[in-house]
């Protein structure tokens, strides 16, 4: 047995259910990759990209806003608060959402909702980053590789 069964669900539907050989998830402390046979793990997710690679090397990317991941040696369950396929995100709309969120965060600076606005901005930015990285629709200059 050298693959996982992976289920990705959000509160509204099941996003993905199938086999994979590698899952990369955005944990609170950074990205983590899981290979089949991994020890059981229970973790909180932050906003970012979730990637699933199957046996033929095809990769699918998802955006998750947060949630939980449960890893069992041959089974992974991802409970996303909000989640969608990278391919389903409209890049232009995502970019506009980031601007909106940035504007709101600025308005809320120093007010009670500031933390909330900041969190929303972080989620919107992460969502845009996911679509830019894994499913770009608008030609743009690739950001310089950090290496």
């Amino acid at each position: 047995m050298d693959d996982f069964h992976v289920d990705i669900v959000n509160a509204e539907r099941s996003l993905f259910s199938g086999d994979a050989t590698l899952v990369v998830a955005p944990l609170r402390d950074g990205e983590a990759g899981f290979l089949p046979g991994h020890s059981p793990l229970l973790a909180a997710l932050k906003a970012g990209a979730l990637r699933v690679q199957d046996a033929s090397g095809d990769e699918q990317a998802f955006y998750v806003s947060g949630g939980f991941i449960e890893v069992q040696p041959h089974h992974i369950t991802v409970l996303a608060d909000v989640g969608e396929r990278a391919a389903d995100i409209d890049e232009a709309l995502a970019a506009r959402a980031v601007e909106e969120a940035a504007r709101r965060a600025e308005e809320q600076a120093g007010k009670t909702d500031y933390a909330h606005a900041q969190a929303e901005l972080a989620q919107a930015s992460a969502r845009l980053a996911v679509v830019r990285r894994y499913h770009p629709q608008i030609p743009h200059r690739a950001p310089g590789r950090i290496r």
Binding site: N10, L41, A43, F68, L79
Partner: protein, 286 residues
């Protein structure tokens, strides 16, 4: 023609009743479609979460979370989900019968039981019964939000946390299909028993970031989602049951109208025949 007139009035009254039941059937059918969609959408999340909870139950966490405690049951709470309105066939009757049956069973086993209710029907029922109700939410509304349910969930779960109850059971109508809804009782806490698929050896999760944080978050999420899932199922069941009940009522009204019309025509025919017989009798007498 006194008898004929009476029947005509009756026919009109049944016809107007039929109009009402048919309208209710249409409304329920429309609401049912939406409610079923919402339920189908919510199911995978709830099922995945329950699966994870089974695994957590099987694990041996180093950190003992108060909600993971399994104690001998001396006191228990029944969380009953009912609908706000009636005219939905045996829907609420089934749930309440299951609830009362369980309460009696507990009483027999020496377990002190109390009740938390969601929905008007259950609230009214347990008030009449003078059962110990610890929390209630009524009316529930057509689109119960997570926040509105959270209040009742908190009361019940806090009692578990503080070791005032040792078991919480959820009773609601599970939606099988449009024609059939089944009253089910499911354990909310302690966590559901692990299935045969999990490792029976001593093992624990790795937690990221901290065991306490992750477990608290995911347990809170589980409890709210599970209860909300039950409410959503119950709503879908309610609308389906109402549609079926109202369709039966409309059909019955139609049959009744048919019978009454037959009776009316017979009475009319009898009156005419009698009149002719009288005329003929009168003519021959002359």
């Amino acid at each position: 023609m006194a008898r004929g007139k009476e029947i005509r009035t009756k026919i009109r009254s049944v016809q107007s009743t039929q109009k009402i039941t048919r309208a209710m059937q249409t409304v329920a059918a429309a609401k049912m479609r939406k409610a079923q969609e919402r339920m189908r959408a919510a199911r995978p999340y709830v099922e995945s979460l329950v699966g994870i909870m089974r695994h957590i139950r099987a694990a041996h966490p180093e950190y003992r979370h108060p909600l993971l405690a399994v104690r001998p049951v001396r006191r228990a709470t029944l969380l009953v989900v009912t609908s706000d309105r009636g005219l939905a066939g045996a829907l609420n009757v089934n749930v309440l019968r299951a609830a009362v049956g369980l309460l009696k069973e507990w009483e027999g086993a020496g377990i002190q039981g109390d009740v938390a209710v969601l929905g008007n029907k259950g609230a009214a029922y347990f008030r009449r019964l003078e059962a110990p109700v610890v929390a209630q939410l009524a009316p529930l509304g057509d689109h119960p939000s997570l926040q509105s349910i959270a209040g009742v969930v908190k009361v019940v779960v806090d009692a578990y946390r503080k070791e005032r109850v040792d078991r919480i059971v959820l009773v609601y109508n599970r939606f099988e299909n449009t024609m059939s809804q089944v009253a089910v009782t499911e354990d909310l806490l302690p966590l559901p028993e692990p299935g045969p698929d999990v490792d029976r050896h001593r093992w624990d999760y790795l937690y990221e970031p901290e065991a306490q944080d992750v477990l608290s978050d995911i347990l809170a999420r589980y409890l709210e989602t599970r209860v909300r899932g039950a409410v959503i199922e119950n709503l879908a069941s309610e609308q389906s049951a109402r549609m079926v009940a109202m369709r039966a009522a409309t059909d019955n009204a139609g049959r009744l109208i048919g019978d009454l019309k037959l009776a009316y025509n017979k009475a009319r025919q009898a009156a005419i025949t009698q009149e002719i017989a009288e005329i003929v009798g009168g003519a021959s007498a002359v």
